[in-house]
Amino acid sequence: MAAPSVEHAFALLRIVAGFLFMFHGAQKLLGAFDGNVQAFGTLRWFAGVIELFGGVLIMIGLFGAIVAFVASGEMAFAYFISHQPRGGWPIENRGELAALFCFIFLLIAAKGSGWWSVDGLRRRGRAATKGTFP
């Protein structure tokens, strides 16, 4: 359990989660990937903005912590207004993905972008960011 591999695995998780999250926004805003364009200014449209732009920012690791915090909150909201009312467990109400994104982004919000991120590059001038996991 050496520290470097942990940081690499965390960065991979951040990049993959942001990348996959972005597709949900592209579905809602652009109608791409078999999605439907949501009306401008609706709740789902705002969700799409968070997902598309938030996903890109999380993936590249720019303002990772604050963006992930917003995305995490959005996913909690999505779970409770759109999935939980269908009843049953997450695997039955199709809220499993929302729940996973919620907790991944909560971790990113607490830890920040970590390695392989724009935040990391920006900070390099000021202080070393190595090994933030204990």
Partner: protein
């Protein structure tokens, strides 16, 4: 960024992902939660064992790193055998969950159980 909350947030992610993963095993092994029980000894059955037993072990944090490594590999296989052949991006071939689980468990495999785990309790004894 709030360093104090990194370890608790990590433990929450580990517990939630293990918990949700176990449901997939329960679907395959027990036919519970709207699932279909699969024949004993088939590849889906083996997948169900990894998901149900592995999910519970990851959730409680027992032998976490090795179990998460196996679960991560299983999810990679699942993505490439069950989802990727359907074509398109993960959001279209329904392989998004498998991909997320794969990378969550890879991270857990490299980091270990952390807070609120049986592994942590066992280590405290020594």
């Amino acid at each position: 960024m709030m360093p104090r909350f990194v370890e608790p947030a990590y433990a929450l992610l580990r517990i939630v992902s293990g918990f949700l993963f176990a449901f997939h095993g329960a679907q395959k092994l027990l036919g519970a939660f709207g699932g279909q029980a699969v024949p004993v000894g088939s590849m889906f059955w083996v997948a169900g064992v990894i998901e149900m037993v592995g999910g519970i072990l990851i959730m409680i944090g027992l032998l976490t790193a090795i179990v998460a490594f196996i679960a991560s590999g299983e999810m990679a296989v699942a993505y490439f055998t069950a989802h990727q052949p359907q074509g398109g991006w993960p959001i279209q071939n329904q392989g998004e969950l498998a991909a997320l689980y794969c990378f969550i468990f890879l991270f857990i495999a490299s980091k270990g159980a952390g807070l609120w785990s049986v592994d942590r309790l066992r280590r405290k004894g020594r």
